[in-house]
């Protein structure tokens, strides 16, 4: 029993690690989509952030500089998205697809030109990455049963970006629901005409939403390549941006609900990798590859109104014409 509980604890720990980039990207998605801009390009921003973080950290030796440049790269992608679908009123989905393909091309092309390693970046030594932070008093808590283990495994021992992701959720909720900017942001995603006639710039509001999203995606990308891993591998975002998008929909465009969806998707993946090749009583061997499709299946079922009813921002996907 104790062993099972410990396994469960390790699974929750892995859940948090897997969910971190999802949470950051989901918050980015909420900003963009709440302002009325569909953001398929989360994936591309995540990928370019991951590449730039690893490349800059490898070249400069500074992981912090890597993070900053990752954010800049991801924001640049956001600005391209904005230029196409806000300034030029292009199709938001097409723009997103274009950015995702650009990101997978650019990261490999530049990666090979810089490092000649088939698109990978050199592996950073352990102390040149974002290190796990040991919280206060882990040793003394160890003697306390259960809570000590939870404190050591789940609360303590993550890198700074994990905690940033956890803080991003209440921050996003606060900005969106409690500030003037957030009110305007939501308005521009529901009735942009009203925002416009109140004398505010629809364009600038939507740009700002995308820029904030770019910052979050950049952090998420850095997490993948210089915190969770030690280098960039081509296509390392591996659909996480899309899962985050699914989490946004699953969370009905609300920060805390989307956060829970990220944790759920993260838990599914963590549990799946633990169940690989395990024979469960009654069920038999779990088809783990099929379980990885569950986030997508659940999102499809939700969107189709089989579980609950999604209520996306009213003006989503529509360019605003004055």
């Amino acid at each position: 029993m104790a062993d099972f509980l410990y396994q469960l604890l390790l699974t929750f720990d892995a859940t948090l690690r897997i969910a971190t980039p999802l949470i950051l990207c989901a918050m980015a998605g909420i900003f963009a989509e709440r302002s009325g801009v569909i953001d398929i390009s989360l994936e591309g921003k995540l990928l370019s952030g991951a590449f730039v973080a690893a490349a800059v950290a490898a070249l400069s030796g500074s992981v912090l500089l890597g993070l900053i440049c990752a954010i800049l790269a991801s924001v640049t992608m956001s600005l391209i998205h904005g230029f196409a679908c806000i300034t030029h009123k292009g199709n938001q989905v097409i723009s997103g697809v274009a950015i995702n393909i650009l990101a997978s091309g650019l990261t490999v092309v530049i990666g090979i030109a810089l490092f000649r390693r088939g698109g990978q970046t050199p592996t950073l030594p352990r102390d040149a990455r974002f290190k796990p932070i040991e919280w206060f008093g882990v040793e003394s808590f160890d003697t306390v049963p259960i809570i000590g283990a939870i404190y050591r495994q789940l609360v303590s021992g993550h890198n700074i970006l994990v905690y940033i992701a956890l803080l991003a959720v209440p921050l996003t909720a606060f900005i969106i629901f409690r500030t003037r900017f957030g009110l305007r942001l939501r308005a521009v995603g529901e009735v942009p005409e009203a925002v416009d006639s109140a004398g505010l710039s629809v364009t600038w509001l939507r740009y700002r939403a995308l820029i904030v999203g770019g910052v979050f995606c950049g952090i998420a990308g850095a997490y993948l390549s210089v915190a969770q891993g030690g280098n960039f591998v081509r296509e390392m975002s591996a659909g996480k941006g899309y899962i985050a998008l699914a989490a946004v929909i699953f969370g009905n465009w609300k920060p805390f609900a989307a956060f829970l969806a990220c944790l759920m998707f993260g838990f599914l993946e963590a549990a799946t990798s633990r169940l690989q090749g395990v024979d469960l009583p009654l069920i038999g061997e779990v088809p783990t590859q099929l379980m990885l499709a569950l986030p997508y299946v659940l999102t499809v079922l939700l969107l189709a109104g089989f579980i609950g009813k999604p209520s996306p921002p009213a003006a989503i996907g529509q360019p605003y014409h004055k």
Partner: protein, 372 residues
């Protein structure tokens, strides 16, 4: 910016604008090549030579073209109904499953029966994977973009599971199916020509290329010469008006997505029935996404789609040549070009259009005055 730019003449819309978009895309990619420290003109030359000049190059180019015609049609059919089908990748993937399952089942039949059945299997399986998002859009109001994205991932998971489990070739480590029975192999073009006494360099180009040309013709007839095609275009232009004109809108959406999925599924005829003769993990290799660029650039018209597919075929084949000739530029350069083309001819479609229209109008307007 003035609000009313004059409409663009048809020739400019069909030829000049795509050309400008392509040039803009190539220009930016050229800058990237320059930044890497190579000569962009030289790189372009290598790509063109690889695609058309080298022995067998043209065969490879047309082999890629075949893929892009199918996936381009999958996107274009849906576009005519104003549906954005991002699911070409998943539909093509499942098309491979359909082709393989039918080919195995029809293994003992002669090729003349087994082959058409396997082709139909590819189309039907792709159509099934297209029809579900279509149904969910038409009847349950799900956003087709999100659903088709999710369906790509679901298809990928199903195929990983099948290829690593139930369909895995015995004593095989890498995830792939057993080889298909010979009755379902499509002949290569160089084999066909050899029978006629014409010798050409062998290449993967096979009879599915002819099928792709047929598909282009079918697409043209379907969209512009049939009742269904009219319904599809009407629904795409204005669903309310189509509804009042007595067109069953949900049914049209579902059928359009079925046809789109069917076109995508036919990609398997080239990759699986024509070349690998087995289902291999990730055999679709992003061709489904390239279809988006092809449809956008080809303006959803069969001739445009053929030309755009040929362009991408040349880029893919020429891009492979980059790997050999240069140390620091590789075939991924093509992804960059592809992304730029989608950006310019899709998302930034309205950037060059109004200024170009005004520019042309400046030269053509006086004539109209004289006529009037």
């Amino acid at each position: 910016m003035s609000k009313s730019a004059p409409p663009l003449p048809r020739w400019a819309d069909l030829f000049l604008l795509p050309l400008i978009n392509l040039s803009a895309a190539l220009f930016i990619c050229g800058l990237v090549v320059l930044a890497i420290g190579e000569n962009p003109i030289e790189a372009l030359g290598v790509m063109l030579k690889g695609a058309f000049v080298y022995s067998g190059g043209l065969g490879y180019t047309l082999y890629y073209t075949t893929n892009f015609i199918f996936t381009g049609l999958a996107v274009a059919t849906a576009f005519h109904a104003m549906l954005f089908n991002i699911g070409g990748e998943g539909q093509a993937y499942l098309g491979g499953l359909g082709a393989a399952l039918v080919a195995f089942a029809a293994g003992s039949l002669p090729g003349i029966i087994a082959l058409p059945l396997a082709i139909a299997g590819a189309a039907v399986a792709g159509a099934c994977w297209g029809v579900i998002p279509g149904y969910l859009q038409a009847k349950r109001g799900s956003h087709i973009v999100i659903t088709t994205i999710m369906f790509n991932f679901i298809a990928a998971s199903i195929m990983v599971w099948l290829l690593a489990g139930p369909m895995l070739e015995p004593n095989q480590q890498s995830p792939q199916s057993a080889p298909l029975p010979g009755s379902s192999h499509l002949p290569k073009i160089h084999e066909i020509l050899d029978l006629l006494g014409i010798q050409i360099t062998s290449s993967p180009l096979n009879a599915s290329f002819l099928l792709a040309i047929v598909a282009l013709c079918v697409f043209w007839v379907l969209i512009w010469r049939t009742r269904l095609g009219y319904a599809i275009r009407a629904v795409g232009q204005n669903p309310e008006a189509a509804h009042y004109a007595g067109i069953n809108v949900p049914r049209t959406i579902i059928i359009a997505m079925a046809i789109a999925g069917g076109f995508a599924g036919l990609l398997a005829t080239n990759e699986i029935l024509g070349i690998s003769h087995r289902v291999i993990l990730n055999y679709t290799a992003g061709y489904g996404f390239t279809g988006i660029a092809v449809a956008l650039m080809g303006r959803n018209h069969p001739i445009g789609i053929f030309l755009a597919a040929l362009l991408f075929g040349a880029l893919y084949q020429g891009g492979a040549e980059l790997d050999f000739e240069f140390q620091s530029i590789t075939r991924e350069m093509v992804l960059l070009i592809q992304g730029m083309i989608i950006l310019f001819s899709g998302a930034l479609a309205y950037m060059f259009n109004p200024p170009l229209a005004r520019f042309i109008a400046r030269f053509t307007a006086p004539k109209e005055v004289a006529r009037g």
